[in-house]
């Protein structure tokens, strides 16, 4: 049962081949058996999962037929879950039990989705390797000496190892697409504002967006259909109708115009990844697409701008962790200042403290114009590049990452080296456009992902292209052999 996709599970449940409860128990057993090797879960919610599965079976028995009714997933541990710890991968929130559900969690629960637990992640979603988690690093099922990517590394490892058919994730600079690429999954970051941020613990509010990692585009479409939509509780949620993503999957690709930005194929890219990316392009051409060389001239400035904007917003967002109302509090504070300073120094890990300090500096008196406003001006240049490119092409295609998954510990002492790995993904967050990564082959036995970017609110187009590609190829069906049984 664990090798089935969400769509296959949905069909099997409606054909009564097994019940949601049987499936849930089988997956929980498998998590208990396999996950110690991967560390992808922070919390497994066994009792709640069985309760939700029984309720879903009952709803089905009463004639309900929702596509997701009784299907299992797991949530990245930054979506608030009522009554269940939401740690955000941090010692700061190790004891935090949210008094409410995130909108995404609630919407999926209403659709009858069974949540198996909360998934490991980089602390406060800051990282590209899932090594900054308070709960220890996550291993890549394709090679357990390697990182699964981050920050949604637990989501990626759990789905790749077939512990769960799909998982939620969040993407502030590539945190869905990069781990999806490094573990042979399909991952979608929707348009900024398409999925509610309410109850999603904030990192950088103008960049954060919820999405999912799954085994194929069809499963992403099923989940997005339930997750997307206007939410009055999120002040930057967009009030625009939600497309029929499942219906868009089957559109033919004839006439599709793909842009290949020359900046995505320059220095720093593993040439074998470049070759696989171009092979994916050839496949799409066979399906009727045409290709055009384009340029996104300001891409090279995206990393410096991102590493001002994201830390600046983080330093502001994370000021709420003060040891007073919730979260970690230090022992025996001398006075209020000592309470703040020690609670924060002891509760946050290295990378979070670093980003808070970079952000505090960038926003401090005398530096605001030179750093924060400068970065926001560059952000407009990057958005303008996309707007101009989408006048000529329907989607942009390139590699998701410059390299395959690296070894655990390899970049631990060099944050700048790790930041540079985000080069192909962060522009989508700065511009707010949707992006998808899909499997496109292997280098030395390790997965490679290709990224597609589309104009605002064209998630349906991305899913359509990925689905058609996945009907013509079988990269996405490959599983890490050690985790198949």
């Amino acid at each position: 049962m664990h090798t089935l996709t969400l769509a296959e599970i949905s069909r099997a449940l409606s054909a009564k081949e097994f019940s949601a409860e049987e499936l849930t128990r089988a997956l929980l057993d498998r998590i208990a058996q396999v996950d110690p090797e991967l560390n992808s879960f922070i919390t497994v919610t066994e009792a709640q999962a069985i309760e939700q599965a029984k309720a879903a079976d009952q709803r089905r028995a009463q004639g309900e037929t929702g596509a997701l009714l009784g299907t299992p997933i797991a949530h990245k541990d930054l979506f608030c879950t009522q009554g269940i710890r939401t740690s955000c991968g941090s010692k700061m929130l190790d004891n935090f039990i949210a008094p409410y559900n995130a909108t995404v969690v609630q919407k999926l629960a209403d659709a009858g989705v069974v949540s198996l637990g909360k998934l490991n992640m980089d602390e406060f979603a800051m990282g590209s390797a899932n090594e900054s988690s308070h709960y220890g690093p996550v291993k890549n099922p394709w090679d357990t000496s390697r990182i699964p990517g981050g920050s949604s590394g637990g989501s990626a490892a759990a789905v790749a190892a077939r512990l769960v058919p799909a998982a939620t994730g969040t993407d502030t600079g590539g945190s869905i697409r990069q781990p999806a690429a490094l573990t042979n999954l399909t991952g979608l970051k929707p348009t900024y504002g398409r999925v509610s941020r309410w109850g999603m613990i904030a990192y950088a509010s103008s960049l954060d967006q919820g999405g999912m990692l799954a085994r194929n585009a069809e499963d992403c479409a099923l989940l997005l259909q339930a997750m997307a939509g206007f939410d009055p509780k999120d002040s930057t949620s967009v009030d625009q109708p939600v497309d029929d993503y499942l219906a868009s999957l089957e559109k033919p690709l004839a006439g599709l115009r793909i842009g290949l930005p020359k900046e995505y194929f320059g220095e720093g890219l593993d040439s074998r990844i470049a070759d696989l990316t171009l092979k994916a392009v050839d496949e799409l051409k066979k399906l009727g697409a045409t290709v055009k060389d384009i340029s996104l001239p300001n891409m090279q400035h995206a990393i410096p701008a991102y590493y001002v904007i994201a830390p600046a917003e983080a330093s502001s967002n994370l000021s709420r962790y003060d040891g007073v109302r919730f979260g970690y509090r230090c022992e025996d504070p001398k006075d209020l200042t000592d309470l703040y300073k020690r609670s924060r120094a002891e509760g946050f890990g290295d990378e979070v403290r670093r980003r808070i300090m970079v952000g505090t500096y960038a926003l401090s008196a005398g530096y605001y114009d030179a750093y924060y406003l400068k970065a926001q001006r560059i952000r407009r240049l990057i958005k303008n590049d996309f707007v101009a490119a989408f006048n000529d092409v329907d989607v942009i295609l390139g590699p998701t990452t410059p390299s395959v998954a690296w070894k655990l510990g390899e970049k631990n002492n060099d944050p700048v080296a790790e930041y540079l790995m985000d080069i192909y993904t962060i522009t989508a967050n700065l511009a707010g456009v949707p992006g998808l990564s899909m499997p496109a082959g292997f280098v030395d036995g390790l997965p490679v992902g290709v990224q597609l970017l589309a104009p605002y609110f064209q998630e349906g187009r991305l899913l359509n292209i990925a689905h058609q590609f996945q009907k013509a190829t079988d990269w996405h069906t490959k599983a890490p052999t050690g985790f198949l049984k």
Partner: protein, 95 residues
């Protein structure tokens, strides 16, 4: 412009992060590496380019000024480190 140890101490204070001597030492080097990366921005010509704060340039939505939240003080206080009689406790501020 490289940060000195004293700059890092000041930033840590502004951020209310109580770093020890070893942390400050280590952090100074790393922050300078990061600022080196960030400073590449200064070479970009952004004359006459307006800052972009929101990707879709949306403005803050307003809603009618009505009470929509119910009182959940007990739920919120259940997860607080220290409370008494419905109040959040902190160390004594006024002698």
């Amino acid at each position: 412009m490289a940060l000195e140890r004293s700059d890092v101490e000041k930033i840590a204070h502004l951020a209310r992060l109580g770093l020890n001597d070893a942390d400050i030492e280590r952090t100074t080097g790393t922050l300078n590496d990061i600022l080196g990366l960030i400073d590449r921005m200064q070479a970009v010509n952004t004359d006459n380019i307006e800052p972009l704060a929101h990707p879709l340039e949306a403005v803050q939505r307003l809603r009618p000024d009505e009470v929509t939240e119910t009182n959940q003080r007990d739920a919120y206080q259940a997860i607080a480190p220290a409370v008494e009689n419905g109040l959040f406790l902190v160390p004594k501020v006024i002698e």
